[in-house]
C-alpha cells in the first residue's frame, strides 16, 4: 500500500486484552502505530491466499513433467474407465 493512499475505511477486530497489549508493545518497539504494524502482514497473507487460489507456479523440473502430460497424455486407467461407465447422477 502506498504511503499516500487515502484510508477511507475502518476495520474492527475482536481479540483478547493480552493479545492487544502484545501487538501494541511490538508496534511501539518497531516505531509504528498499530495499523501500520498489523496491516502489511495481513496484506501479505491475503495476497498469498489469493494467488494460491488462482494459480500454481511450477519449478523447472516439474515443468518438464507437465509438458509430457500435456503433449503425450496417458490412456485412461481402468479406474477412470469404470468411473465414466458408471451411472450418472440425475441433474435438474
Amino acid at each position: 500500500m502506498s504511503v499516500l493512499a487515502l484510508k477511507d475505511a475502518r476495520m474492527e477486530l475482536k481479540t483478547t486484552k493480552s493479545m492487544k497489549e502484545m501487538l501494541n508493545t511490538a508496534a511501539s518497539l518497531s516505531g509504528q502505530d498499530l495499523t501500520s504494524f498489523v496491516l502489511p502482514s495481513a496484506e501479505k497473507r491475503a495476497k498469498s491466499v489469493l494467488s494460491d487460489y488462482q494459480s500454481l507456479t511450477l519449478r523447472r523440473e516439474e515443468q518438464v513433467n507437465f509438458l509430457k502430460a500435456l503433449t503425450n497424455p496417458q490412456s485412461p486407467t481402468e479406474a477412470l474407465k469404470e468411473l465414466m461407465a458408471s451411472e450418472s447422477l440425475v441433474e435438474r
Binding site: 516439474e62 513433467n65 502430460a69 447422477l89
Partner: protein
C-alpha cells in the same frame, strides 16, 4: 448399494435455503465449517460455482456437494519447451472441495460426484478451451486420484496437499458414449 434414485444434483443457488446445509457432516471439520458458513459467500462472490446433491425423499436435504473454479498452472518454460505450441499459463478447471454426508456414505455418491466433475470439465473445455482438471489432494484421497490417472505436479511437502492434474485428452477419450 442403497437406492440413489431419489438423489439429484443441481447447480447451487446462493439465494436459496437448503434443508440441513448447516448440519452437513462429511467427517472433515474444515469442509463442514465451509459448507455451514462460507459456501454461500464464496458462490455469491463468484469465486467458485457449486453443485449440490439433494435427497428428494427428505425434503431436498443437502447431502453432498462440490465446488469448481477456474485455475491456471504457470509453467514459464512451457512455450519454449513445446516450440510455441503451448501457452506458459495453462488454463484448467479446479476441483476445490468435494464432500458427502456421513449418513449417505457407502452408496457410491462420492464417485458419482467425481464423474460429474469430469463431465463438467469436458463441457467447459468444449466451450472455452481448457487443458484439464486440477486439484489439491489430501493424503487420504491421493490414492483415489492417482488410480484415476491424475499426475502429481509437485512432490508432497510435509502435510500440504498434493497438487494433481488430469489432462482433458485422457478424459475425452472416454466421453464418446
Amino acid at each position: 448399494m442403497s437406492d440413489n434414485s431419489r438423489i439429484i444434483l443441481e447447480l447451487y443457488n446462493p439465494g436459496k435455503t437448503y434443508n440441513n446445509q448447516k448440519k452437513f457432516d462429511c467427517e472433515n471439520a474444515i469442509i463442514n465449517k465451509f459448507v455451514a458458513s462460507s459456501l454461500k459467500k464464496q458462490v455469491r462472490g463468484e469465486l467458485s460455482c457449486a453443485f449440490v446433491l439433494l435427497d428428494t425423499n427428505d425434503n431436498g436435504r443437502f447431502v453432498g456437494f462440490y465446488t469448481l473454479s477456474s485455475f491456471s498452472i504457470k509453467a514459464p518454460m512451457l512455450t519454449a519447451l513445446s516450440k510455441g505450441s503451448l501457452p506458459s499459463d495453462i488454463p484448467c478447471s479446479r476441483l476445490i472441495m468435494l464432500g458427502v454426508d456421513i449418513n449417505y456414505k457407502r452408496r457410491g455418491l462420492g464417485k458419482q460426484l467425481m464423474k460429474s466433475v469430469i463431465q463438467k470439465t469436458i463441457a467447459a473445455a468444449d466451450q472455452i478451451g481448457i487443458y484439464g482438471l486440477y486439484l489439491d489432494a489430501d493424503e487420504d484421497a491421493y490414492t483415489f486420484y492417482d488410480n484415476l490417472g491424475f499426475i502429481t505436479l509437485q512432490e508432497k511437502k510435509g502435510t500440504k496437499p498434493t497438487p494433481m492434474f488430469l489432462s482433458i485428452e485422457t478424459m475425452r477419450e472416454l466421453n464418446q458414449a
